[in-house]
């Protein structure tokens, strides 16, 4: 798991109180994690605070799984560093 994915999972465990067991790559954002638009905003705020990645919460709309979130943020961080 990449450092960014680990950071995202840590936020989900510490701030959103998820058990590490449910944080699989294919965990459904809507059905398993039950993250909604309010959660998406707060997750992006915490991500920006902790990684510097500026993620538009509207970009979460088309994502389906936790792995999709990992890849989205990894891409943004990589782009920022490039």
């Amino acid at each position: 798991m990449s450092p960014i994915a680990e950071k995202i999972n840590t936020i989900l465990i510490e701030e959103f109180e998820f058990s590490p067991d449910v944080l699989t790559e294919d965990a459904s954002i809507r059905d398993t994690l039950e993250l909604d638009s309010l959660d998406a905003v707060d997750l992006t705020v915490l991500l920006e605070e902790q990684t510097g990645a500026k993620v538009d919460p509207r970009s979460f709309i088309d994502l389906r799984t936790l792995g999709d979130i990992h890849r989205l943020v990894e891409g943004i961080v990589a782009g920022k560093g490039a």
Binding site: L38, D39, D42, V45, K54
Partner: protein, 409 residues
């Protein structure tokens, strides 16, 4: 029509339940403590508060809790306790004719602080949490308790600072009496923030002379009293029509048999004795009682110089020289929105046990106050009725008259 209390819940600095709070009150414990970080605030002279410690909010699911500040979490706890005592399930609350009447003085000041601090530091709207709005709205406690209960009935969020809880009870009684509902969940909550201490300190209404001996700082009716000690907590009662209570075979904790509210319309910072007395008189008339029928007065008395003076003058006008009276602010400080509900619950407890609590820290009765039966120790006597008063900024007067359940224990 008789209207009964069938459930009660409290989260206070003295305990996280009615029983724990009552036990501490009977033991004469104070919840006041020195707040070191306030002592470091330039210009702030009041360094004492009563705060709810070790509060475990994990009974509320994360998805529901995310929009709550501490005041809503505490009120959910008090609500759960009250519903449990009333033997009301969530299904009962959904399917019976229930109204929810809960409020606070403001939304969460701490959440406002975090939000504004971010904005002022960055000059940007980025970094704001989506849940800030739900924690800071004026009806934050109402929307959050409703969410916790998955409540679908009528919700009203009264807000009149120190009178909020008492006003919620009054409104609940009026709505039940009018036939608009059978059950009313009535309460209030507030959380401590340094801003509240600053506000009262600036208005020269906060205690500052007992920072080194904080448990002595709140001293209603005492000659050395020097102001309010800010506090926090939550409380809620279940009010219910007699018909509904009997149909459910629920147990009465006592009745609300009289109530009145008014606005002083005078000085914005406090009510005068005349309007306080008129409110008490109106509550007695509503109950169909005369002053001698009421054996105990639970005073609002927050330990300010003028507030205690005017209230004692008003009580003296109505009840004469000897009426037993006490204030619980010495034990609990001043929690604002929940204090009225909390004090009504304590008064019902006193009526049931026929043991009446004293004013803590009342060491020397202020000679400027009129003669009254100021309680200075737990006192046992028989009475069927108590009056509970609350008076808020802006002249918001509320008097409630409570009746013991049929068979005092």
């Amino acid at each position: 029509m008789s209207i009964h209390f069938t459930g009660a819940g409290i989260v206070s600095p003295l305990g996280h339940s009615v029983q724990a709070t009552m036990d501490a009150l009977e033991a004469g414990r104070s919840s006041l403590e020195r707040v070191e970080e306030w002592a470091a605030v330039d210009g702030l002279s009041s360094h004492v508060a009563a705060r709810v410690k070790d509060f475990d909010n994990r009974f509320i699911p994360r998805k529901v809790r995310r929009t709550m500040s501490k005041m809503s979490e505490m009120l959910c706890k008090a609500t759960a306790e009250a519903l449990s005592q009333a033997n009301l399930s969530l299904e009962d609350v959904e399917h019976r004719r229930v109204m929810l009447l809960v409020g606070s003085t403001t939304g969460s000041t701490e959440t406002f602080e975090v939000s504004f601090k971010k904005f002022h530091e960055s000059g940007s709207s980025r970094g704001q949490f989506s849940t800030t709005m739900f924690k800071t709205m004026n009806h934050s406690v109402a929307l959050n308790v409703a969410s916790y209960l998955q409540f679908k009935g009528t919700v009203i969020s009264p807000s009149s600072a120190c009178s909020t809880g008492a006003q919620a009870i009054l409104l609940g009684a009026q709505f039940i009496e009018s036939g608009l509902c059978d059950i009313a969940l009535c309460g209030g909550a507030d959380e401590v923030h340094v801003g509240t201490a600053i506000a009262f300190d600036t208005a020269q209404a906060a205690s500052s002379g007992f920072n080194a001996d904080p448990q002595k700082a709140s001293r209603p009716f005492d000659a050395q009293r020097d102001g309010v000690v800010v506090a926090e907590g939550a409380s809620l009662v279940v009010l219910e029509s007699a018909d509904s209570m009997r149909a459910r075979s629920a147990q009465s904790l006592g009745e609300i048999c009289g109530w009145a509210q008014s606005c002083d319309g005078g000085h914005v910072a406090h009510s005068g004795a005349d309007s306080m007395a008129q409110t008490m008189r109106d509550a007695l008339a509503k109950a169909g009682l005369v002053p001698d029928d009421v054996g105990y007065v639970n005073a609002h008395a927050t330990a300010t110089r003028l507030g205690d003076l005017y209230e004692s003058q008003a009580v003296h006008t109505i009840f004469g020289d000897h009426k037993p009276i006490s204030s619980l602010k010495g034990h609990l400080g001043h929690s604002f929105a929940p204090c009225g509900t909390m004090e009504a619950i304590a008064s019902l407890h006193m009526l049931r046990t026929q043991r009446f609590l004293p004013t803590l820290n009342l060491e020397e009765i202020d000679p400027e106050l009129p003669a009254l039966g100021y309680l200075r120790e737990v006192s046992s006597f028989e009475t069927e009725h108590a009056m509970s008063n609350n008076f808020a900024m802006g002249g918001m007067n509320v008097s409630l008259i409570l009746r013991a359940p049929d068979k005092p224990r």
